[in-house]
């Protein structure tokens, strides 16, 4: 890597050639404010708050648009810079409503934080502020199916305009009018219609764009915990953060409150899609199965204890297996993790022998998404996180990297409809619909050809309602589980919240069931299962990472509060690696200030 070395505030900084002064400052932990620049969207040079002094240049320069050169001497804290920067902040705030107490961004707002650190002590503006659609939150207007827009708060950084133009490749957001009258808008107020619209809330450095899902639901300081995990709703495997809101003392527990994307240049960059972001309510929804269910003779499903359900289930399964060893079949969702797929495979091998896994079919939903042709964030058509995992375990034909189309379960369906299946065990860890069409199973069970239906899953779907036994499992934020995404990348989820009611992590359900069926499963944990996977599949290199795969834990959201806007998280995750205040041993505040520098206020 070719590098250049420059000094910023007297500190020597070496950085990749071609990077800008702002990037150099960020990477070396020197605080320079910015709004229009976003690492995923690029440079605009319009907000002007990142101005710095560069020796030998007559005017102050915007650091975002100035490329580092060898020996360049930059100051960010000399009086002229401090004063000029404060002047720009004054301009940003003369029309910005000070409705922070009712603004969703409050507490994680770069305009608040940077104004606090760099802005003037008071505003000299004594004219009424600009009002577009109504005062305060009454200025919030429809901005499409997922978003709301408040034009008063907008500082015209144009990140949203450029995101839609350059990342989504469908320029739906425009500026109308010009100069002091400029506003963000969509054609005829149609709003933003995009599969990745939620990212606009992340990139907005103020509370101008908010999501309908999250607005007025929580405040950053009411979300004490956050867990870095992955989204499993499709084959992409976006790296995300699950935010957990504390419930009041009397209500106990916590609540999943939002998902935000987490930078991973190899997977999802700075973005995630709206499906992963907004379609999570089923996890803590009314339809969640919280207790094992058993269908009574009356036809009604009744909650029962795990002991009861396991015993009865084993009897029925054993009976079905004894009468017709080929009659017991398994239908697994490709939402099943490696651990779960492996345990099903082991179970069939132990019970039937080498040919056992032939009883397993894997299914998933395949939906082409409507997206602009040039989009830089393509949402895969495969709505399942682990088709490649199922392939490596030999449950689905093909190798990782081969193209994936729709799942083929016609053989199973024919067998079921022909009455050749005596028991069908379905594993469906959600969300609803991710198995693809299941009406034929419901049909077969109600009309008769299928005598026994067992569903292990999370939601009381139509399928689960038709089942003789329902075993409540865990969703992807309630367990540590591993998946291989569409590009063959091995990743793990985090146990962000506990399983509800009597629901159990799926590996545990399978181990208990196996034990009850007489299989000598001695797995003590999911990790234990994983190490057995690597042991038994030692030739599949892609699976070897399972033994070292690290799983995150929900963490105190304190450092995210410092980092403020979730979209700025990349600073902490990526650029401030090994730098304070996250970790490391270099404290920039302990370094001597350059002559004439004005110390910063502590944030």
């Amino acid at each position: 890597m070719e590098t250049v070395t420059l000094t910023i505030d007297g500190r020597q900084v070496t950085i990749e050639k071609g990077k800008t002064v702002l990037q150099a400052a960020i990477e070396s932990g020197i605080s320079v404010p910015y709004y229009c620049y976003h690492p995923g969207i690029g440079i605009d040079g319009s907000c002007r708050v990142c101005i710095v002094k560069i020796e030998k240049m007559p005017k102050l320069q915007t650091s975002c648009s100035t490329v580092c050169t060898e020996g360049m001497a930059v100051s960010t804290r000399t009086p002229d810079v401090v004063e000029a920067r404060a002047g720009v902040f004054e301009f940003l705030l003369i029309n910005h409503p000070l409705d922070c107490p009712v603004c969703d961004k409050g507490g994680e707002c770069p305009l608040q934080d940077f104004s606090y650190a760099f802005g003037p002590d008071l505003s000299r503006m004594d004219f009424p502020r600009r009002v577009f659609d109504g005062d305060g939150v009454r200025g919030d207007v429809d901005f499409g199916p997922t978003l709301m827009l408040n034009r008063q708060r907008c500082i015209l950084c144009t990140r949203c305009v450029r995101f839609m133009r350059d990342v989504d490749a469908d320029a739906q957001i425009n500026i109308i009018d010009r100069g002091y009258g400029s506003e963000i808008a969509t054609f005829q107020e149609e709003g933003v219609h995009s599969l990745i619209s939620g990212n606009l809330m992340d990139v907005c450095p103020v509370g101008a764009i908010t999501t309908r899902d999250y607005r007025f639901k929580s405040r950053p300081w009411d979300n004490p915990l956050a867990a870095d995990t992955i989204c499993t709703q499709c084959a992409k495997g976006c790296n995300v953060t699950a935010w957990i809101k504390a419930k009041p003392e009397w209500a106990k527990g916590s609540q999943l409150i939002r998902f935000t994307p987490r930078l991973n240049p190899d997977v999802n960059d700075y973005w995630m899609c709206d499906i992963g972001r907004f379609e999570y309510h089923w996890i803590e929804g009314e339809r969640r199965v919280r207790k094992p269910l058993e269908r009574q003779a009356s036809g009604v499903q009744q909650p029962v204890s795990w002991d009861d359900v396991t015993a009865k289930l084993c009897d029925r399964l054993a009976a079905a297996g004894t009468s017709n060893p080929d009659g017991v079949r398994f239908l697994l969702s490709a939402h099943a993790s490696h651990e779960e797929l492996f345990l099903f495979k082991r179970l069939t091998e132990e019970l039937v022998g080498e040919s056992g896994p032939a009883a397993i079919s894997v299914s998933w939903r395949y939906r082409e998404k409507q997206q602009p042709a040039g989009t830089k964030f393509k949402v895969p058509a495969v709505d399942a996180p682990n088709v490649n995992g199922a392939r490596m375990l030999g449950l689905v034909p093909g190798a990782p990297g081969d193209e994936v189309r729709g799942a083929d379960v016609t053989a199973l369906r024919q067998a079921v409809e022909a009455g050749r299946v005596t028991a069908l065990y379905v594993f469906d860890p959600g969300p609803d619909g991710s198995l693809g069409d299941t009406t034929w199973i419901v049909e077969a069970r109600t009309r008769g050809p299928l005598p026994l239906l067992i569903v292990q899953g999370v939601l009381l779907t139509d399928l689960a309602r038709a089942a003789d036994f329902v075993l409540p499992g865990a969703s992807y934020v309630e367990k540590e589980a591993s998946y291989t995404n569409g590009h063959g990348r091995l990743q793990g989820t985090t146990r962000a919240i506990p399983t509800p009611g009597d629901a159990m992590e799926d590996w545990q359900i399978l181990v208990n069931l196996g034990t009850a069926l007489g299989v000598a499963f001695d797995y003590k944990s999911a990790a234990h299962v994983r190490s057995d996977v690597t042991g038994r599949f030692s030739t599949i290199t892609e699976l070897q990472g399972l033994s070292t795969l690290a799983f995150n834990k929900p963490m105190e959201a304190r450092h995210w509060l410092q980092a403020s806007n979730p979209s700025e998280r990349w600073k902490w995750d990526f650029m401030f690696q090994d730098l304070p205040p996250v970790k490391g041993n270099v404290d920039p505040t302990s370094l001597p200030l350059p002559p004439g520098a004005i110390p910063l206020k502590e944030v």
Binding site: I43, D44, G45, S46, C47, R48, V49, I51, K59, L60, T62, S65, A84, G87, V88, E90, F91, L92, I94, N95, R124, M125, F127, I155, L156, I175, D177, R178, G179, Y180, G181, S182
Partner: protein, 432 residues
């Protein structure tokens, strides 16, 4: 000095190709085609021609910076978006002598290796566009434009592109954005247009008067051209004199001329019974000069030495009936209206300044407003993406500097202290 650029503008058919050809038209272009492109650039450099759009940057240098090694096409973008208040020279040139500009465009294309020149004409100049289109059609018909121009093997197209009402489109990168079909907002520099310009290709952006001078250099030689004016201020110059003078108009002169000769000589001085109060020598964006500075040489360097800028040579003459607070308000209304809104200080600052000026002019100002005006102006100047910010605050700073007493009188008396008869009789209304 005999007029060169505007010599024939009063002739009835000066805009026709026949007339132009009878007066050495396209001779300079023929000479250029006999030279190498580098020789043409050298000649323009040697002539000392400086950009007539406002910045006064040497044209030859600008052409030399065009990235010849780039595999992309090169372009000439002629800045004919003449919008600086007080400026109307390009208007005249294009309308009465369009072939001079077309010839300049063709020579420019040849010099920098471009095949296409776009003339970006401001939208309000529909009649100018019509004249240019007709002249271009004539030039195509006679082989001065098109494929294999004059048998030289050089291809050259010239197109007119009509703007649609935006002062900011006169900023060179904003002009390119507008040409690309976007809002006229400036780009970050560097990269400069010479490297990344129109359609991301190397582009030379030149003013109308600048390009119109190029045929003269080729025709009569660089040395002759340089000798027309004082050192480093060669060639003829068009001056636009307007405001409170007897004979407003475009006057062509050597840059050896003084402001006094232009204002009192050519333009006939201020009207009967009035006295000179101040002169804005280079369009509304430059500081004003006072009557005792009239003997300043009206060259780039002369006016700079006197504390202002030649800019676009739009000389606005102000007599003693002019209220300088009103003037600042009038111009800030312009800048507030024309600010493209891309960068924060300009977008917010021009509006704020205008509101304060309106309050003072309306009699509601306070003394602390004056410090506020200077402070806000200081926060805009030098902090913006393009030069617009500096231009916009100049009327405020220059009037505050020289005429602070008028501001104070407004505030003291709670009304405008110099309501001239040529101004509106109505009270100031809300901003519209």
């Amino acid at each position: 000095m005999e007029p060169l650029l505007t010599r024939y503008v009063r002739e009835p058919n000066a805009f026709t190709l026949d007339f132009y050809l009878r007066h050495q038209g396209y001779e300079g272009f023929r000479k250029a085609l006999a030279m190498t492109p580098d020789e043409v650039i050298e000649a323009v450099k040697a002539s000392g021609l400086r950009g007539r759009g406002g910045a006064g940057f040497p044209t030859g240098m600008k052409w030399q910076f065009v990235d010849k090694k780039s595999p992309n096409p090169k372009y000439i973008a002629c800045n004919a978006d003449e919008s600086e208040p007080g400026t109307f020279k390009d208007h005249l040139l294009m309308e009465r002598n369009p072939h001079l500009l077309i010839e300049g465009c063709a020579i420019g294309c040849y010099a920098i290796g471009a095949k296409i020149a776009y003339i970006y004409v401001r939208g309000e100049f529909l009649h100018v566009q019509e004249v240019l289109e007709r002249a271009i059609a004539e030039a195509y018909a006679r082989g001065f434009l098109g494929r294999n121009v004059l048998g030289s093997g050089f291809d050259c197209d010239v197109y007119v592109h009509r703007g649609a009402g935006a002062y900011e489109a006169g900023e060179e990168t904003a002009l390119l954005e507008s040409l690309e079909g976007k809002r006229a907002q400036p780009r970050n520099k560097p990269p400069f247009p010479a490297v990344v310009g129109l359609y991301n290709c190397p582009t030379a952006v030149n003013n109308v008067e600048t390009l119109s001078n190029v045929p003269l250099i080729l025709l009569n030689g660089a040395e002759w051209f340089a000798g027309l004016g004082p050192e480093k201020n060669g060639g003829p110059k068009l001056y636009c004199v307007s405001g409170h003078v007897r004979r407003p108009g475009v006057y062509e002169a050597s840059m050896k001329i003084t402001l006094r000769e232009l204002i009192e000589g050519h333009a006939g001085g201020v009207r009967e019974g009035r006295t000179l109060k101040a002169v804005i020598p280079g369009g509304s964006s430059v500081p004003c000069l006072l009557p005792d500075q009239l003997d300043t040489q009206a060259s780039f360097d002369g006016i700079q030495k006197a504390g202002s800028l030649l800019g676009s040579a739009g000389i606005v003459v102000l007599d003693d009936t002019t209220c300088m607070v009103w003037l600042a308000e009038n111009l800030l209304h312009f800048y507030r209206h024309e600010s493209c809104g891309k960068c924060t200080p300009c977008r917010e600052g021009t509006d704020w300044l205008h509101k304060i000026l309106r309050r003072i002019e309306g009699g509601g100002g306070q003394l602390r407003d004056l410090d506020l005006l200077s402070s806000i102006s200081g926060n805009v100047a030098g902090k913006t993406l393009c030069a617009f910010g500096d231009a916009a605050v100049t009327p405020v700073l220059t009037t505050l500097k020289h005429f602070r007493h008028e501001y104070e009188a407004h505030i003291r008396e709670g009304r405008c202290t110099l309501p001239a008869p040529w101004r509106a009789t109505r009270a100031l209304e809300g901003v519209h």
